[in-house]
Symmetry: C2
Subunit: 165 residues, 2 copies
DNA sequence: TAAAAACCCTGTAGCAACTCCAGAGTCAAG
DNA sequence: CTTGACTCTGGAGTTGCTACAGGGTTTTTA
């Protein structure tokens, strides 16, 4: 089976499959004479596994760990449990953060009724307040770690992949 | 005031300030003879504004919009309200997604008690199931848009900035 | 006054997990 | 034999920074 079919059967973009191969999540595929990748049922299953993990928002590193366990079936699976527990913890924490964030945003939103001029906008004014003292150097770490840690993740994807153009 | 002081007063890393300038969020600073950036109260206030927005997890584009409004005080602020409402919507949606995710993860977690061998691990087996049919091509869009859209964000930052080293 | 420490500069590369594109080759159908 | 669908590689872009390297400048200390 060629890459396009594998893509279709797993709902994975072709580019992503090649990317997984580069990253070592998928083993290198055999090639036809014309240098096309060919896959078998094992690849399909492995890719499906990966995608299921990704749909649960696991990182590649986490998935790598799980794959290693799959590949060495005699090991105990305690670490699998631990990994999952940690992941659940991450998710729960992020939910808490976002809930706090939502509350803050709603407070802010309540500062302004429609139709004022921007100069009188309660929201803009609120955001402008306390200019000399932001993200209190001591008492941060609290509500949004994005600044202090790796600082990637956002609330939503927001930008469509412009697949249609 | 030099960049280091501005950094300290706003709790912003120096690199980030320069980055904001490159991105056009902060206007270009004046320079001393030795080519050092110098800032005044206006810069401080603007940076504080930006940081407050970021702490509410707004994107640079959203912040740009808000800054434009701040800079044209006679405009009506309806769009500010709209922007905030949209942002709150994003946050709320992400919370819902993550809550569904958490549920799924807990179901998965319940598949395995401690100490089994990996070959018998309920979790690995569950993740391996249904290999021929994943992320149903029609019924996706549902719980995790990360795949279909820009595909960045993750559940948690996870990787420390190794600021201490 | 000179050396050392602390600060600042530019430019580039890296992160996560892809996505998109260009420019080229391969293959099946008409 | 051409058209079109598919595939290949390699590289750049996404977001919001962070982390150097390899310099220059200012301030502090001896």
């Amino acid at each position: 089976m060629k890459i396009g079919q594998l893509a279709q059967q797993t709902g994975t973009p072709v580019d992503t499959i090649r990317y997984y191969e580069r990253e070592g999540l998928l083993p290198r595929a055999a090639r036809t004479e014309g240098n096309y990748r060919i896959y078998d049922a094992m690849h399909l299953e492995r890719l499906a596994f990966i995608r299921r993990c990704r749909s649960l928002d696991m990182t590649q590193d986490e998935i790598r760990v799980l794959l290693r366990f799959r590949d060495t079936p005699s090991e105990s699976c305690e670490d699998v449990n631990a990994l999952l527990d940690a992941h659940i913890g991450h998710v729960a924490e992020r939910i808490r953060e976002l809930q706090q964030l939502e509350t803050q945003l709603q407070v802010l939103r309540a500062c302004c009724k429609e139709g004022r001029q921007a100069v009188a906008c309660g929201i803009l004014n609120e955001l402008s307040q306390g200019a000399t003292e932001v993200s209190t150097p001591s008492a941060s770490e609290s509500h949004l770690s994005a600044t202090h840690a790796g600082g990637r993740q956002h609330v939503t994807p927001r930008k469509q992949a412009t697949r249609d153009s």
